[in-house]
């Protein structure tokens, strides 16, 4: 809240209200599906920006302001510090996503898309899982790099994470063994964020099935654990002097 993170909600609400009012004519009565598309994509975009720009500052600000010394003077380990920061930002993002989800649902009810108002929540949950992964990546980079570079690297991982499965398929058609090995590596090492893309389907009233949600949750938990472990390892060895 100190970073006025939730101010983005005002912008989001304005966007959704504008969509609900203006899209009727532009889409020839198909405004409900467009509200879902715009709402869910904006939810992800806003969430990613918060995860990146707040996430990369969480650790570096404490170091720059030297508040990290007073913190470690108390019985708080470096691992707990990283995990605490991560959980704090994740909870903020959860609140953010929940409020945005309610906003989209209300806009859908306003335009008569009652079915979609309920069915989007599976996709909303997947967006939150994706944000949880992006947040962990941001904290990892911020544990050893400058905020600007961390933001750039996190955003790159976000982009590649979405493209990795498509690039892997593309590499398979290229006929180059090296390309196949490289993109296979990218596919497995970087998070496969395409697993959490269900926005287009949600606009067509489709709901992710239980294996997709459960599998996505477990994948996110495992990946976040790996990333935070690396972040703690690096942060534990860091010299603040």
């Amino acid at each position: 809240m100190r970073d006025r993170v939730l101010y983005n909600l005002v912008l989001f609400v304005l966007l959704i209200v504008a969509c609900a009012i203006l899209l009727g004519d532009l889409t020839d009565g198909q405004e409900a599906r467009t509200i879902v598309n715009i709402g869910l994509n904006a939810m992800l975009l806003f969430g990613v920006f918060i995860a990146i720009f707040v996430g990369v500052g969480l650790v570096s600000k404490e170091i720059d302001k030297r508040t990290v010394f007073s913190m470690f003077a108390k019985p708080v380990g470096r691992g707990e510090f990283i995990v605490g920061k991560y959980i704090g930002l994740c909870l903020t993002l959860l609140v953010n996503v929940l409020i945005m989800g309610v906003g989209v649902s209300l806009a859908l009810l306003y335009v008569g898309g009652r079915g979609l108002a309920g069915s989007i929540w599976g996709a909303v949950m997947l967006i939150f899982f994706e944000l949880a992964i992006v947040t962990s990546i941001a904290i990892l980079f911020s544990s050893f790099s400058s905020p600007a570079l961390s933001a750039l690297l996190t955003f790159s991982v976000f982009l590649i994470g979405h493209l990795s499965s498509s690039l892997r398929e593309l590499a398979a058609t290229l006929g180059s063994k090296l390309a196949v090995i490289f993109f296979e590596g990218v596919y497995y090492v970087l998070p496969n964020l395409a697993n959490y893309s269900f926005r287009t389907e949600a606009a067509n009233a489709m709901v992710p099935n239980a294996p997709m949600i459960m599998g996505g949750a477990v994948y996110a938990a495992v990946y976040v654990t790996i990333v935070l472990t690396v972040a703690i390892l690096i942060f534990s060895r860091r010299d603040f002097k």
Partner: protein
Amino acid sequence: MKKDAIIASIVIVCGFAGVFLLSSYLETNRISVPESYADEDLSLQGKKLKGYALGAEGLVADWYWMRALQYIGDKVVKKGIESLNIDDMTELNPRLLYQMLDNATELDPKLMAAFSYGATVLPAIDPQQAIKLTEKGIAANPNEWRLLQYLGYIHWKLKDYEKAGEVYDRGAAIPGAPPFFRMMAARIRTESGSRDLAREIYKQSIAEAPDEQTKTVSEIRLMELDSMDERDAIDAALDEFRVQTGTCVKKWSDILPLLAKIDLPHNRKLRVNNADEIVDPAGFPYLIDAATCKAMLSPDTKIPLR
């Protein structure tokens, strides 16, 4: 400090005034480019973004869909056409419409409104493109019987009644398809181009229309059929008057009593406005063609003139 604020305010106000004037100047002095050039401003390969749009394919599809909707309207406005011929839109040269709808449906194959719009509008531009788009929709959504309804309609419009009948048969085989598919398959084969069959097709189209565009076009088509019935009846009355008097009717009020007796199909009656003129289903007065002594549509009506 106060002086600085005043100077700054003057600069800002004058600046905006200048921006306003320059904007108008630039707008009016823009070089007019050929229409085909203006059409080029769209990226037509959007469908290649599939798999690379960070999961926002649906949003990009919606953009193409909205562009497709505005495209025809913009063309009509730019060409200054007052009455659009929904049977033949080639004069608008809407050559990008298919690509827009193709992109939209490639990025989101469940975008039924785009298929519906294509099936309704593309036959007036290029029927083969309409068939191609609808077949693509059927391949991606094999259980969507509405798409077969559209395809049957396109073949029926092309007077390929055998093919239309086959398509309705295919539709009837889809689980959950309404019973009218079976009935339509039979009627198309036996009645082929009858007005009653056409009326039935348009009524179903209105009942099942997922968007306003499809509904509006079907409503105009229904009005056209009603108008055809009306003109047949009026022409018969005009003939009768000419046989009796040896001259053609000059104004509608001369034969109103004769017209009032006419019973149109489906228990309808001819409609008369406050000026004692016979009006078409869209509310525009019919005209009398002095040369042929037959009723004709007003150029202002939204019913297709043919």
